[in-house]
Amino acid sequence: MSEPVLLSLEDVAVDLPTPRGNLRAVDRVDLTIGAGRTLGIVGESGCGKTMLSRSILQLLPKKAKLSGRVIFDGQDLARLDPERLRKLRGKSLAVVFQDPMTSLNPVLTIGTQLIETLQEHLELDGQAARIRSAELLAAVGIPAAEQRLAQYPHQLSGGMRQRVAIAIALSCEPKLLIADEPTTALDVTIQAQILDLLAREQRRRHMAMILITHDLGVVAGRTDEVAVMYAGRVVERAPTPRLFKNMHMPYTEALLAAIPKIDAAPHTPLPAISGRPPDPTRPIPGCSFSPRCHYASSLCHREKPLLGTAESPDHQFACFHPISLAAGIEA
């Protein structure tokens, strides 16, 4: 990669104590993202992708224990003091969540929420902040921006609210935007608009973006690189075209196969993945996917495969029997 590395996660792990025992939500993840690049993180519920995004933002629940390093722009966020961290959040590091109804304050107007952010981080005075807020709303495609400033979140539709949330996130020109399932709660036509908006803004601002989703279709056309997560670990990571064309992980293959395709004929039986996603409070020895994997061998049930590369250094996977690869992994 020729771009400078903006964010680097090194050996990040998140442990949560629960009544049923320790829950390893994130299990030693290494990831990097360069300035201006888009990383897609794909996984189902319980795979740890949300906890991972929270650990970047240092917004983990109180009981959670974070280990490893989160290096953003040269600083380790996990070890930064709260005041500097707070200044960083919102300004250089922004977030868009899944449900805009709960991520926006329902009792404050949109204008107030935008202006507050601008005043806090950019130290603009009231008038300048108002003008800038209206500009931002217009930039994210909200018609009649001036009037909208006085409206409350419940007066807008889901798509509009998400645009407002994006406007707030982008207001201070962040270097990195984390979008955690930003379109899952939206209709498919609105989803397309929102994703286009994010892509456009990212190109204009040369902003890095992490797009977290469970939908492989969403990452396919809109990311540079994809990391697939399962049971708290990154199990495959590659530049997007290579992931889809030349995947090595059986899980990735199974996930792709299980999605109904629009050009398939009706009543084609779907190759479903048997079993259920793993219980994070009961880790098993061996590969977490092995109970559901067609290709699993006794080795897979015994030992956990480590993330390694094969023919290309930027394509990593964790499997003893990778698909479309003759030999095993080279760690």
Binding site: M160, Q191, P241, K245, L256, A265, A272, R276
Partner: protein, 327 residues
């Protein structure tokens, strides 16, 4: 629509000009505004549309869980809208419903065995042994071990398992018709495929007719013989699945298809043609309701509400300027 009648048998379900409205805080929401459709015995009709289009309301109205303001629903020739009380309750044994949120669909304080036996009790099956036997049969049919499952509470199960339980409950009375209201939307991707396969299996095994409501086009296409597209309370287009998706006639159908994210990195997502947001169901636009977002809209579209007309073999679209067929 007459082409279908020539098959000889009347359709199992006939919805005629259904109108469902309800008031919220003094204003009226026009959820369903004059929808007519038919479902033949043994087929799966997919009903697709985005949020606010009224598809869920339509599903509930068909079952008379929400009484329509006008229109009729004929099930096996009998008018459900005219039925009340005991007669309606008896009809309910033949028509069942599966919901979107499987965990919320189960009473958290009752055991699975009781939940599945409930329809039998209501239907008057007095013999407890017989009830147990039927419950066990249907649990096995959906892939759950009755010994392990029957005595437990819903919170002990995952979303996918709960949906299986809900399907079992819907099947225990051997109904003829099931309305599936977004049955897989709340489930993980890898579980969705399991449940869809299960539904197809159960349909074949129990000889069911399905009305499958969803917002995900690919999911709808995977299980449906025919698909109906709804927008803001009206039907836009109805037709056989393959044909509709390969050659959509209504601009909205085309828009929906184009907006689907395709898991293929070579397919560049087209800059969406979709303009703006859907209008509110409290104030639907005059004439064609899609005209505010339609690239083909003109004066006629704002004055005259289009009716469903045949634009292809068995394909009907409500549009003055359809993409295929006579203009």
């Amino acid at each position: 629509m007459d082409a279908e009648r020539s098959a000889g048998r009347a359709p199992l379900l006939e919805v005629q000009n259904l109108v469902v409205e309800y008031s919220v805080g003094g204003r009226t929401i026009h959820a369903v505004s004059g929808v007519s459709l038919e479902v033949e015995r043994g087929e799966t009709l997919g009903l697709v549309g985005e949020s606010g289009c009224g598809k869920s309301t339509l599903g509930r109205a068909v079952l008379q869980l929400r009484r329509p303001q006008s229109g009729r629903v004929l099930f096996d020739g009998q008018d459900l809208t005219a039925m009340q009380g005991e007669a309606l309750r008896k009809m309910r044994r033949r028509v069942q419903l599966i919901f979107q949120d499987p965990i919320a669909s189960l009473n958290p304080r009752r055991r699975i065995g009781d939940i599945i036996a409930e329809p039998l009790v209501i239907a008057g099956v007095k013999d407890q042994k017989r009830r147990e036997q039927l419950v066990h049969e249907v649990l096995s049919a959906v892939g759950l071990d009755p010994q392990l499952v029957a005595g437990r509470l819903p919170h002990e199960f995952s979303g996918g398992q709960c949906q299986r339980i809900c399907i079992a409950r819907a099947l225990v009375l051997n109904p003829e018709f099931i309305v599936c209201d977004e049955p897989v939307s709340a489930l993980d991707v890898s579980i969705r495929a399991q449940i869809l396969n299960l539904l197809e299996d159960m349909k074949a095994r129990f000889g069911l007719t399905l009305l499958f409501i969803a917002h995900d086009l690919a999911v709808v296409k995977a299980v449906s013989d025919r698909v109906a597209v709804m927008y803001l309370g009206r039907l836009c287009e109805v037709g056989p699945s393959e044909q509709l998706f390969a050659h959509p006639a209504h601009p909205y159908t085309a828009l929906l298809i184009e907006a689907i994210p395709v898991p293929d990195p070579d397919v560049r997502p087209a800059e969406s043609v979709a303009v703006g947001e859907p209008p509110s169901p409290m104030a639907p636009p005059s004439g064609c309701r899609f005209r505010t977002r339609c690239p083909r809209a003109d004066q006629r579209c704002s004055e005259e509400m289009p009716e469903l007309r045949e634009v292809g073999p068995q394909q009907f679209a409500a549009c003055h300027h359809p993409l295929i067929g006579a203009g």
